[in-house]
């Protein structure tokens, strides 16, 4: 029994270490964002808001924030729409080449971003759609749709397939059944998927960096600071990004689990 306790304790200690490792960069970035030193070390410098002031007074930051919001909302809508269509098709239909169909839908996350970035850049310049806000939205929709599909598909899984046919038997058309049965049932997943895809889009930088031209998003702005002056503004921006993304995720999580429990 003693051995059991030793194991249990060492596992706890190990878990604490693991979580410490995972959260070290997140916590230090928040701390450094209030620290006056340009290249922080211990002991810390004095407490300051100056990095936040620099960031918030920088019109380029606000421009990047607007671009980011625009991109993440638009690609969130498009990805959720495509994700829903795909998830519903997978849920409801059997057809030849369905395996290939699903693979086509789910493949993007398995391709390294740097490769997608190069391909997108070349292809979008070829068809004359590079260097615009548009280009980022197109690319992010590709990246995000599989996540939306995953979330929505899980939700549809919980739906009784007979529910839809029951609606048809009661005289509803397929479209009406979709509107009155499927969509309401899937709604929490749609909202979750929307939030989740927005969060994914909000953080992506590789593809954006390649295709965005002059339209910087926030992560691209961070990358440019990293390539340029390297100063703790990054931490201030990072803290801002963190809270935005977390808000989206928590909303997604709450809606998804609340509605799931309800039904």
């Amino acid at each position: 029994m003693n051995a059991d306790r030793v194991i249990r304790w060492s596992i706890w200690v190990y878990l604490v270490l693991v979580f410490a490792f995972v959260f070290t960069p997140i916590v230090t970035s928040v701390i450094f964002s209030f620290n006056s030193d340009r290249f922080p070390t211990v002991p810390l410098g004095s407490f300051t808001f100056k990095w936040y002031e620099t960031v918030l007074n920088d019109p380029d930051f606000w421009k990047a924030a607007r671009t980011s919001m625009l991109v993440c909302v638009c690609s969130g809508v498009l990805a959720t729409f495509i994700g829903f269509c795909t998830a519903y098709t997978d849920f409801r239909y059997q057809f030849r080449f369905k395996g290939a169909y699903i693979a086509l839908a789910l493949l993007p996350p398995t391709i390294p971003l740097i490769i997608l970035a190069l391909g997108m850049l070349a292809w979008l310049s070829k068809i004359g759609a590079s260097g615009q806000v548009w280009s980022i939205i197109i690319a992010h929709t590709v990246l995000c749709a599989p996540f939306a599909m995953g979330v929505i598909r899980l939700r549809l899984q919980q739906m009784d397939p007979d529910l839809e046919s029951a609606a048809w038997n009661l005289g509803a058309s397929e479209w009406a059944a979709m509107k009155n049965v499927v969509l309401p049932f899937a709604m929490p997943a749609l909202i979750s998927a929307f939030c989740l895809t927005m969060a994914v889009s909000f953080d992506e930088f590789t593809v954006s960096w390649f295709v965005s031209g002059l339209n910087k998003t926030i992560p691209v702005a961070i990358l440019e600071v990293l390539q340029g002056t390297v100063d703790p503004q990054i931490n201030a921006i990072g803290t801002f990004v963190f809270f935005t993304s977390m808000t989206l995720v928590v909303i997604a999580q709450l809606i998804f689990s609340y509605r799931s429990n309800q039904n």
């Binding site: 878990l15 997140i26 098709t89 409801r92 390294p112 058309s173 990358l223 990054i234 963190f242």
Partner: protein, 297 residues
């Protein structure tokens, strides 16, 4: 959006019998992903393959079908050095990450309560929504010669150690990217193991390590391998860790892609690198997945 037409046939006779019929309704849901992915996912990838045969003259790309870029890149030692180095580094990252993740996943799957597990997984999801660049920058500041880690070690009378611009730095970066994901995937696959299997093994007198080695790991094999594959893919394709924490010394393939597009102005050659990367990943993923799903004898 396709034009809106509403099917007004009497609906009452339709039930499961029409499930396989392709009509406007079915197409409405089926087509968006096909159209979008062909245009903006398959299109770019195919174009990139085609581009690897293009030529660049006077800083302008010309469509052509020439082997020049392929010959040029594959005949260069530095390309192959970078290739094997990247594979080595990604493999090292995969091994280190999987080994470090396993005890944690094992603990979360078997040694804590379900609610602790849920919370732990929730906490592990958080990093995905913090900027990877910002976390890398934090490590940069922590690992620097005059940085936080060495200052803390200094209090203990140790160091300073050179951590930045080394393989160690790159691995820390890769861990930042992949560790939480691998722990989650491992935990989920371990938690799904049929407990009675484990009890049976113990009842048969197998020791702890023996049980883990010959029952737990094989039973969770699929999930463990999938975690490792994702880890490999992410490490193989990441340019941030080897650049900012590894000092680009030597460059990995993703850095080579950026160098050739951003500095060398050679999209076609970058495409060669990208195509080689894609083929490599396909081989690795295919091999790993077939091992993962192979029935145990």
């Amino acid at each position: 959006m396709p034009p809106l037409v509403i099917d007004s046939q009497s609906p009452s006779i339709r039930k499961l019998s029409v499930k396989n019929k392709i009509d406007l309704y079915a197409l409405t849901w089926r087509m968006p992903v096909i159209v979008w992915q062909l245009l903006f996912f398959v299109g770019p990838l195919l174009f990139m393959i085609a581009m690897s045969f293009f030529l660049v003259k006077n800083y302008r790309m010309q469509e052509a079908f020439e082997m020049k870029n392929w010959i040029k890149m594959t005949s260069r030692d530095y390309f192959w050095d970078a290739y094997w180095y990247t594979i080595g580094l990604a493999t090292l990252s995969t091994v280190v990450t999987s080994l470090l993740a396993f005890p944690a996943a094992f603990g979360l799957a078997f040694k804590v309560s379900a609610s602790v597990r849920r919370w732990a997984i929730f906490l592990l999801i958080i990093p995905f929504f913090t900027s990877y660049l910002v976390r890398t920058f934090s490590w940069y500041v922590i690992l620097a010669e005059s940085g936080v880690a060495n200052a803390l070690l200094g209090y203990l009378g140790l160091g300073p150690y050179k951590m930045l611009n080394t393989v160690f730095g790159s691995i820390v970066g890769y861990l930042t990217l992949t560790f939480p994901l691998v722990i989650i995937l491992q935990t989920l696959s371990l938690a799904n193991i049929d407990r009675s299997l484990l009890e049976a093994a113990q009842n048969l007198g197998a020791g702890r390590l023996r049980t883990i080695w010959s029952v737990t790991i094989p039973a969770a094999k699929t999930g463990l391998i999938i975690g490792a594959v994702f880890c490999f893919i992410l490490s193989f394709g990441d340019f941030v860790a080897p650049y900012y924490l590894g000092g680009s010394k030597p460059p990995t393939l993703p850095i080579l892609i950026i160098d050739t597009t951003k500095a060398g102005q050679q999209w076609p050659r970058a495409a060669v690198v990208a195509v080689v990367m894609m083929v490599t990943l396909m081989v690795v993923a295919y091999t790993a997945i077939s091992i993962a799903y192979r029935k145990r004898r």
